[in-house]
Every structure is written in C-alpha cells, then in structure tokens.
Amino acid sequence: MANLIIILLFLVIGYMTGTYFEKKHYRSIQERERYFVGMPARSSHWKLDIPSGIDVTLVCGGVVVASDYFKNFAATLRNIFGGRMSAYESLIDRGRREAILRMKEQAARWGAYEIINVRVETSTINSSSNKSKGMPMVELFAYGTAIKRSRNSNA
C-alpha cells in the first residue's frame, strides 16, 4: 500500500513538473528560433555559386534529455497496446531543437551568417537492456560548417 502511494506521488510530481518544464522549454525554444530566423541551417552543401572571401569552421551543439516519471509510465502502457508514443515524441523533438539552437548560438558567437551541411544524430546513452534503470536517456547532437565573411576580403 505504501509503495503504491509512493508510486502515485512520483507520478503526480513527474506529471506536474514535467509538463511545467516542457512548456517553459518550448516557449524558450520558440523565442530563440525566432531570434535565429536570419541564420539558416541547411542540410545541403552550398548555394550553387560559392561566395568568395568566406571563412569556415566546424560548429556543434548537443543535449542529453531524459523523460520524467509520468512519461515513462505512459510509455510503458503504450508498450502494451502499441502505436505512437507521443510522450517521447515531444521529448526528442525539443531535445533536437535545443541541440540545433546551441549549434546556432556557437556559430553566432563566431560571427557566422549561415550553417551548411548540417547533420543531426541521435544516440542512446544508457543501454535499454537494463530494465531496472531503463529510463531513456538520449543524446541529440547537431553539427555543421559555419560560414562567415572573412575580414580581409575585398569581395
């Protein structure tokens, strides 16, 4: 009985704090995405003509995210019936957007106006085979080549 109460308490706490932080995070993501709207991150190589007089560097951004207790519980239920795991979808989505934003922030500090050839990758940090600690911990990582106009160019 006491165990059940503790689990319920964790569920309620997980749900409340998890939802609160997710909303807050989404607001922050949207705000920063609007700010970086002028710095496109493209997954293609170049524009057709390579502008002369530019400098390049590698930029990257990463974030490790974990699900909350409630999401974990919801996902366990979903595992029985199958279908979309919307609890995890939003988690991975905001992690990925955060990783791309961090990459853009690094590029902006360096003075870039564009990032090309962006690659995004996802990797699991803890192995899912261990059931007792089977909390999903996922790293989202984005990297690309930042471009800026070089200072000593006369172009």
Binding site: G14, T17, I50, I54, L58, V65, N126, M137
Partner: protein, 107 residues
C-alpha cells in the same frame, strides 16, 4: 587547423590528401552524476552533467584527431563525421573521423 564537414575548404584548393584521421574517447560518468541523473529522471528534462560530459569528450576526440592530422603534416581536415555509441552501461564512445588534407591558395 581548418576543420569542415563538407568535402572541401571554400576558396582554397586541396594540394595533397593524407587519408583518414580519427580520434576517439570512451568516458564513463562518475557516481555523483549518475545519482543526480537518477533524481532528474523523476522530473525529466535536460541532464546537464551528461551534456557537459559528452561535450568534453567530443572536444578531446577532436583534439586527438587534430594531433594525428598535424603529425602527418596536414593543415586541414575535411568531411568530418561524428558518431556515438554506448559500449557498456554508463560508458559512451565518441568517435570523430575525417580526411586530412593540405590546402593552399588558388593558382
């Protein structure tokens, strides 16, 4: 040392190829970080300790790759790719690889 993840360095020509260079590192998290992450698993969200850990390891992997390229006499690395794999419970391998080249000005 110039590092890009496209095939060339813009406005420069590749004079010489040195072949594949790579750097890798395997890091484990310490128990304090593990404990903090366990608590964080109730509330969800970002695990800053792990983010830091992976950022550090990635910087080290890149450094090793650069040392290897430098010892070959290269001055740039192109077509860089990252990859991560978890080798054991609580340990992640970071691998970064690319092609070491010598670049120079046009003409």
């Amino acid at each position: 040392m110039l590092i890009t993840n496209v095939e060339t360095v813009p406005n420069k020509v590749i004079l010489k190829h040195f072949g594949l260079v790579y750097g890798s590192t395997i890091r484990a998290k310490h128990i304090g970080r593990d404990f903090a992450a366990g608590i964080k698993n109730i509330f969800g969200g970002e695990l800053r300790g792990y983010t830091e850990l992976l950022t550090e390891s990635r910087a080290e992997a890149v450094k090793r790759m650069m040392q290897q390229a430098h010892s070959m006499g290269a001055n740039a690395i192109v077509n860089v790719r990252f990859s991560t794999s978890s080798v054991a419970q609580g340990a992640a391998e970071i691998l970064v690889y690319g092609t070491a080249v010598m670049v120079g000005e046009h003409g």
